[in-house]
Amino acid sequence: MYHQSVKLIEALEVLRAAPQDGAAPWKCFLASSFTPLHLQTFLAAELQKRHARQPVQIETGSFGDLAASLESVSAEGLEGLCVAMEWPDLDARLGLRRAGGDGLSATEDVIAESGRALDRLGARIETLAARLPVAVCLPTLPLSPLLPSPGWQAGRLELALRTALATFAERVAAAGARVVSSERLAELSPAAERLDSRSDLVSGFPYSRPHAWHVGALLVQTLLPPSPRKGLITDLDGTLWHGILGEDGVAGVAWDLDHNAQAHGLYQQLLRGLSDSGALLAAASKNDPELVAEALAREDLVLPADRLSPVEASWGPKSAAVGRILAEWNVGSESVVFVDDSPMERAEVQAAYPDMTCLSFPEREDASLPSFLAHLRDLFAKPRVLEEDRLRRESLRANQALRAVRTESGEAPEAFLEQAQARVQLHFATDSSDPRALELVLKTNQFNLNGARPSEAAWHEALEGPGAFRLVVSYDDKYGRLGKIAVLAGRLEDRTLVLETFVLSCRAFSRRIEHRCLAALFERFDADALVLDFTPTPRNGPLRDFFAAFLGRPPEPRSRLARAEFFERCPRLFHQVEEA
């Protein structure tokens, strides 16, 4: 089943509705050796949908030579680069617009030429990918009908070209460029309907209109991937396993082929992978808690039971169980996916949390299982998995220990913090090579100075200004590692620090890390005061409260915090501090 594409007129109308109020344009470079025509229109429209408050501007290079076009790109002022490759970029003889000479009969020469072309393209893309987000779409059109081998057999030339292309794709991906999935494109755009040979010969634009839209949309999705969800809450009966615990018993529930329940085993496998890459998992089930504990102790579970935290088993409403899980995780419902086979339970949870993604677990014989699993995977997709993603589950356990210790011992936070053996590492960044810093800025809501979401390109540029600084903070204590959990950035003007960015992961609250961060800045730069580039947002109350304690009133844009004022009111800090 191929997906319907957007019509050209719809794309033009999106562009027509773009803001005309003088806002600075969001600039993207589209590199292709063919006339970009409708691809440019669709790309611009898809980008415009993501940037409703700025007009999108697409820049293009010289046509006919992709490498020269890429060599003309200056990263300055650009927010992204999209590269649409086609076979003639490897060797012009592979296209329909070139005839004469030995053509593709000169197989070895075409292979050698293609290798040289891919080398040149790869080198340029590597350089650009270090400066700004780059999305690359490998050739999408059918190979030339002039290839010497018959169409049903992959001949020497085709095999060599595909191998060279795969090596090229690995190379640019290793450098940070994001490569559009050829498999996803094949799902959306049938191979036989991609080429418009008449358009190619008349105007130099080789794509059919539907194919142009699919390529444009996928380039945008690859360049600007959606934010991944943070957590998944799963039902148990009929979802994590086949069967009903209360009726079938602990030994009667199943998740394997032998019991015709493989869908549940695959689901568990997927959840395990999501957990490995940092997603939070929990269970909400209307069940007897003791039976659930017994079932989760089964050693043949594909998903180890300790990945589910917390497990809410009770006879109360599902929405109440979901509420307790969200509180435990300290994440917003919009970042969470809920999976349940019962339409009634889904409806009840959806009514309580309208912005939560509620998904139905497919019936056993349902052919939609692969697309359900793929959809789930995509909801949690990250361009890359960082060390902090793997630490998230560990830090959740550390937070539980922290709460438990406080409750059981009755100790005041002061005494608790003193014995926690906390260690803070300060990394004063000199470049933007650490992807974790920007990720934290983009995904932190509660302890966030202003809610600003800089683009990758703007984040790179910010560190190049006069007096610019960027501090990334890591934390660990005897309860576990939290990894990199805070970012502060801004500039030093004389002896005043202008703080433009200050985010702290919600996993790291209640440890006085935010106090340590400011103390570190004052001391490192010997600054007299801090000026806050503060903006209130609907969710940055925790940050507001933090600064209000020093200022004696809620912060305002450009609030000024004097060094003496800060240290006078700063509570005792117990961290051991190291500078990396």
């Binding site: 019509k7 050209l8 007129i9 033009l12 027509r16 025509l37 409708h38 209109r209």
Partner: protein, 79 residues
């Protein structure tokens, strides 16, 4: 469904957003600065999508005004 002229006006408005209703009716290759070769291809692609027709390469040189395109469409009885 809207008549042929109204639908064609929508196509012109999408490609030439600065034109008002009266200017669209009078629009021609020579009178509109933004009407270049790319605009011609974009416009005729829109018309193909909207009316389910197909233009031949030689049509590119003939479809040079709103009036000519409208006449062509009405001759094809696509209304």
């Amino acid at each position: 469904m809207a008549d042929t002229e109204t639908r064609l006006r929508r196509c012109f408005a999408a490609v030439f957003p600065d034109l008002d209703e009266a200017q669209i009716a009078e629009a021609s290759l020579g009178s509109i600065a933004a009407w270049d070769s790319v605009a011609t291809i974009t416009l005729l692609s829109l018309v193909e999508e909207e009316f389910g027709v197909s233009f031949e390469p030689e049509d590119l040189a003939r479809q040079t005004s709103f009036a000519k395109i409208l006449a062509d469409l009405e001759a094809r009885d696509t209304a």
